[in-house]
């Protein structure tokens, strides 16, 4: 028969049960980023509000429908056609009723994207680069979809030019995010290469280098940040 001390000793062997280090680090990053995903929109100012509206799909009632992009006072969008206004959100907006107003609205949007692109160039902290990705990637995807729809429409030449400028703006915005990821991942990879690492840390660093070589900069950044967190957790 075991003594109480022996029994407790056996029970305490269960302390060996521990979560995997990699999971601990990733879970923490995910939990804290859940909050950051919203906060990271802040540098983009009104852009964050615009992004919300992008999540609504435009509705085209007829083949001749004209999509009007409107940036209201609060920086919101709404999609309309000639027959009726299609509301996509319960938000106050100003509906332009002339080509000139559409052009002004598109110019406003262009400015917002340019500002957001500049903000991206200034981001230096690795975690903020990853957080901004949560905004940029879905925005760019939706913007491209929307632009593709707009391109099907017959637009006046001066509106068409603004749309072309918008396409370039979205591309620059996308590239700014990719550059931020590449620049930050490369900086961290070079930094950790000069430090003595454990075998496990070296393995993760190797994966980061591989992802970087494959031009998967976001994955490279995630891996190289994992190296840092593994070091801190030691």
């Amino acid at each position: 028969m075991m003594t109480e001390k022996e029994l407790i000793g056996k029970l305490q062997e269960l302390r060996q049960i521990k979560p995997q280090n990699e999971w601990v680090v990733f879970a923490k990053a995910q939990i804290l980023t859940e909050k950051e995903a919203k906060r990271s929109l802040a540098p983009f100012g009104r852009f964050s509000e615009i992004f919300k509206i992008f999540q609504f799909k435009p509705v085209f009632a007829t083949a001749t429908a004209v999509m009007l992009l409107i940036v209201g006072i609060a920086g919101f969008f709404i999609f309309t056609n000639q027959e009726k206004q299609v509301e996509v959100a319960q938000i106050p907006t100003i509906v332009p009723d002339s080509t000139q107003e559409i052009i002004l609205a598109l110019e406003d949007l262009q400015k917002e994207i340019n500002l957001a692109t500049e903000s991206l160039k200034e981001i230096k902290e690795p975690h903020k680069v990853l957080e901004s990705r949560n905004t940029v990637v879905p925005f760019v995807a939706t913007a491209r979809e929307m632009i593709a729809e707009i391109e099907k429409l017959e637009l006046e030449q001066n509106v068409d030019n603004k749309i072309l400028a918008l396409i370039k703006g979205v591309e620059k915005f996308d590239n700014a995010q990719k550059s931020a990821e590449a620049r930050t991942a490369n900086y961290l990879i070079q930094r950790w290469k000069t430090v003595t690492l454990t075998e496990a840390q070296q393995e993760v660093l190797k994966q980061a280098e591989q992802a970087y070589a494959n031009r998967d900069y976001a994955q490279a950044l995630i891996n190289v940040m994992l190296v840092q967190q593994l070091i801190e957790r030691k």
Partner: protein, 171 residues
């Protein structure tokens, strides 16, 4: 990083191992334990970031969420808590041990884990909190809303139940 971030990051680091182990011992699945554990900390974080002051006792709060999520897990799946009899790999930390020692230890750990998992939920909790997580009787009493005397009695009974499970009466 905001102050709330830094504070919560510290809470996470302090409690993740304990909460994971607590959940793992109840669900016996690494994947489920990870899911429940993530959700536990996520809920805590959501509460934490919206609270003006700090949460008074984050550890108790985390255990409460984790317990509720484990209950929900079994309720949602309509599951009876089934403990798999096959050996679930448990990381054995010291690589300097020889294979024979490691095998013996793994087997011991699994035996105790399976026996613990068959005990009443309340018994499991007091044993884990007191002997694995080093919580005092008074802390357990507060968390489980019982008197210290009641916790002592429960702890004693839980140990006896564990002993009984490890040494079943011979037929």
């Amino acid at each position: 990083m905001t102050n709330k971030h830094k504070e919560f990051s510290k809470i996470y680091d302090q409690h993740i191992d304990k909460i994971y182990r607590f959940v793992y011992l109840k669900v016996s699945s690494q994947e489920t334990a990870q899911d429940i554990c993530s959700e536990t900390f996520l809920r805590c974080w959501k509460r934490y970031k919206t609270t003006k002051n700090t949460i008074e006792n984050p550890q108790a709060f985390l255990y409460r969420i984790a317990r509720n999520l484990v209950i929900d897990h079994y309720r949602q799946k309509g599951k009876v808590q089934i403990i798999p009899t096959e050996a679930i790999p448990i990381p054995i930390i010291d690589p300097s041990q020889n294979i024979e020692e490691m095998a013996m230890l793994t087997s011991d750990v699994n035996t105790i884990r399976l026996t613990l998992a068959k005990l009443k939920d309340d018994y499991q909790n007091v044993l884990i909190w007191h002997y694995l997580d080093d919580l005092s009787i008074s802390e357990i009493a507060k968390m489980s809303e019982k008197s210290e005397g009641a916790v002592r009695v429960q702890l004693h009974r839980a140990l006896e139940a564990l002993r009984g499970g490890l040494n079943p009466p011979q037929a």
